[in-house]
Symmetry: C2
Subunit: 440 residues, 2 copies
């Protein structure tokens, strides 16, 4: 039997405590699977006195994760602190600098410093494993990094934020407003007190930027992502989508185009009978489209202490199974110094179907004007739905819903801007992009 793999866990929140419990209760099975024991040699957290349901006797305690990274007797530094800078970044750098492998669940850190950290690790022959950083328990990092080597990707997309998917699912199933569902999600612990980062798409963007690099071999470009959140999705949009045979999901999409890579996060209509449309609640899903394999979709828990701990554990066992220095899996799919520069495709050149919902004053000529603007911008329509509102007001209003065939984003923006100038529009027009799975 080989020596134990010694790990240090930095951060004993939900995931860290769950990981420690699993390592302590499943010792034998893990030893059999890895051919050697995995031992927790050190931990670091803020509050030593808190009861986490874990026996910390005999494990070195560090108040500072950086100090643990610098001094503890460990083979692997497990970073579960979070945050792109500060202690997470400093401790990971310290661990790599000292020749210690890193396992992390930190998407923000990788989105910000991933390429640099990968270079550092590769210079030293070290591994950075980060399965838990994207889509929690779904093994999408391993799949992209190891299983699909040699595939040429055309598009990857997914539901990568459980908070948003929970809210959208509840809105549809219960007919509740966005605000009500958000409040419910907060009550249940599915949303933060300040939910901005989730509902405005930033969290999805961080995850997407990592997948983009793995799929397309380009530098991580987390700031070059088109971003739209779900806070302005109304129950009317959800019902209209359903009537037209779609469901609304917040997707992160990365796509190879003739002019560069499109990275975008926005509410998206997906066909009601597609597999991804059935992914409900806090569950995540990631789809990978490539030329050799075709389409692969993975559905699973995107968050939660245990699911995340499962991914972290997989990363640790991968290191336990390999002899020191024996693996050569590049952190970002190819050696970091060989990543291509990121070339961003302009969002105005995005091509796809669009759902456009307009509330207008109900008077003669309005529909003709809308139709004319669409025609003048070369937008061909797949379907048109028109509802008159029964209102006690003097002015009758009408809702007009247009679904376009594949068209340019630029054309849609121009048409909508022109319609806005006509003066019959009430409120803001709603524009939602349509995404179709390859196979549907």
């Amino acid at each position: 039997m080989a020596d134990a793999l010694k790990i240090g866990i930095a951060g004993l929140g939900t995931v860290g405590a769950s990981l420690a419990r699993i390592l302590q209760t499943r010792t034998q099975a893990l030893t059999v699977a890895c051919g050697r024991p995995i031992a927790i040699s050190a931990v670091s957290a803020r509050d030593k006195t808190r009861d986490r349901g874990v026996d910390l006797a005999g494990i070195a305690w560090f108040d500072s994760p950086v100090e643990m990274a610098e001094k503890a007797d460990i083979d692997v530094f497990v970073e579960l602190i979070g945050g792109a800078e500060g202690p997470a970044e400093h401790s990971v750098r310290a661990a790599l600098g000292r020749g210690v492998h890193v396992v992390t669940a930190n998407k923000a850190l990788l989105a910000r410093h991933g390429v640099e950290l990968a270079k550092l690790a590769e210079e030293k022959g070290l591994l950075i494993n980060y399965e838990a950083a994207v889509a929690g328990g779904i093994p999408v990092i391993k799949t992209l990094r190891e299983s699909l080597t040699g595939n040429d990707f055309s598009r990857i997309y997914g539901i990568m934020n459980g908070t948003c998917n929970y809210i959208l699912t509840r809105m549809e199933k219960e007919g509740l407003s966005f605000a009500d569902c958000l409040a419910e999600a907060q009550r249940l612990g599915y949303a933060e007190a300040d939910p901005t980062f989730d509902i405005e798409g930033n969290d999805t963007a961080h995850k997407l930027s990592i997948l983009t690099t793995l799929a397309f071999g380009s530098q991580i470009a987390a700031d070059e992502i088109y971003l739209e959140g779900i806070s302005n999705i109304s129950i009317d949009d959800i019902h209209a989508a359903r009537d037209l045979g779609y469901r609304i999901k917040l997707l992160g999409v990365a796509q190879k185009t003739a002019t560069g890579i499109e990275q975008r996060v926005h509410p998206t209509m997906v066909p009601l009978d597609s597999v991804i449309a059935q992914v409900d609640g806090v569950t995540n899903a990631v789809a990978l489209e490539s030329d050799i394999l075709g389409e692969l979709l993975m559905v699973g828990p995107g968050a939660g202490g245990n699911a995340t701990a499962s991914a972290v554990l997989g990363d640790i066992t991968d290191i336990a199974k390999s002899r020191p220095g024996a693996q050569m899996v590049p952190v970002l799919g190819r050696p970091a110094h060989l990543l291509e520069p990121y070339v961003q495709a302009e969002m105005t050149r995005h091509e796809g179907g669009y759902f456009i919902r307009l509330t207008v004053v109900d008077r003669t000529g309005v529909f003709a004007s809308i139709a004319t603007q669409m025609a003048e911008n070369n937008i061909s329509l797949e379907s048109i739905v028109q509802h008159s509102q029964t209102s006690s007001d003097a002015d009758q209003t009408k809702t007009i819903i247009l679904v376009t065939h594949a068209t340019l984003e630029k054309s849609v923006r121009q048409a909508v801007a022109a319609i806005k100038e006509e003066g019959y529009l009430l409120g803001e027009p709603q524009v939602i992009r349509i995404e179709r799975p390859k196979t549907a």
Copy 2:
């Protein structure tokens, strides 16, 4: 740059030719990802003259795969011959005996000789990678073997035969009979001239037996699988399922029970709004349920030259990325000599919901008799549907459909046997098991 990884490909059918083409056209990307080139050093096939769209110049040709395994200058033997015995088995043994890693897509070989071959490989410090053997391009082997180490599995199930799923999908979508859809599948190359192995569930059983071992750590037991094919599924069953909110899929299911492991392959009703119910056509899907992760579902192409080649390629690149002898991933998830004996749960003790369709003579007392038999066997009913057939015959007939709550297989068998003895049954009763995803 490290030396090239030298591979020998045995079998140049659809998959082998596709693999060779990919290796020849994507040399640079593969070299970057693996840190070394992958070179085809030898090939073996029956007919040297056939044009396979691959340039074989400078590659050693062997008429016999065994001879190639014994003599070729290779690091990895890629077995794409097929069959549980004969050349496939002999050549794989020869390769391992000589200290050469093996990559194979051969489910039958592994279902039959997997444990023995794993022992042989592990004694010699060699790898056997076989991602393509189960569910084609879906990385379920890697996920079970590497990502979910430490998880305790409760159930795994999946759609693992594209032929059956294609037929069932077409039956539902087009309202065609089993025979018509089978003929169509044969015309399109989705079914063999002799389709028995696919439609009777044997192919699914082979794949299931491998997943069972990976998930539950028991010896491979491909012969101890309860087997029912799809040839007696009628369009009436499919319509009745739909009316009740289900869809019929051929599932392979392995489940841990108090008395052992249940392995079963049979037509199964899954809830219409579940994710797996949307998996159409030749697409495969595998669901893994475990205590730490929860539920993971993977959907993708289960067959086809390119999708299978993608999985084989992933297996090869895994070896290319590791230094010789450096990996210690046990072939079957744990070292083969530590696999537990397989303890089979009796099928009569299976517990679940059942769909029962009975065609009966329409006369007074029949329904009461059926209800009595159900009650006497402690079967509680979730729903009952009754249709009278409009027939010109003297005898009116009736279709009675029962859906049970969770009940014992034994009780259902007893109740159905008792009903058969009553004499009012026309034709054979149809019994289809119901399976519910954990999350639905």
